[in-house]
Amino acid sequence: TQTVSQSDAHVTVFEGDSVELRCNYSYGGSIYLSWYIQHHGHGLQFLLKYYSGNPVVQGVNGFEAEFSKSDSSFHLRKASVHWSDSAVYFCAVTPIVSSGSWQLIFGSGTQLTVMP
């Protein structure tokens, strides 16, 4: 069974702080990883993705994520958060299977609150 675990349901930081949102997955084969953001009352927006190559990928608005095969992780980071970054962040995994079928498997989300 493939699982995506976001261990922190809530993270609260102050504006200007750095933040790391954690994502761990369990799957033995090749996967495709992504992060989405959901502002209150809106749909999800794509932030960034990783499949291969440089394990650190850059996304929009200063976000980056680092893939670690040894840790089975894909943590999201931002060096200096803004109040507008307050949202729910979802990590998603897509196992790559030979049948060609695919499905995004989402974690339960982390609510990031940025205090002024």
Partner: protein, 114 residues
Amino acid sequence: GGIITQTPKFLIGQEGQKLTLKCQQNFNHDTMYWYRQDSGKGLRLIYYSITENDLQKGDLSEGYDASREKKSSFSLTVTSAQKNEMAVFLCASSIGAGISYEQYFGPGTRLTVL
């Protein structure tokens, strides 16, 4: 740019009722999706449609029907609403079906069953 429109924004139903949610996109995307989002949980895929006239079941298809009437629209029907059910249903679209295609999401329809 484009937009995904979901109607209605809020849907209140009675137990056992058949309820239909609608989604329209003007991205000219081939692939569309319906997800269910429960509080404190990730999204779960109900149905998706790779292209017009195609329909594929996701992990959560039981209790739902879907219809891809044309390229730009994708409807979801709750066949029999469950009492006290509360969830947000999100529609999404992508250029194609495949792991590398980014999905664009609508704002959601919030369902409450009395």
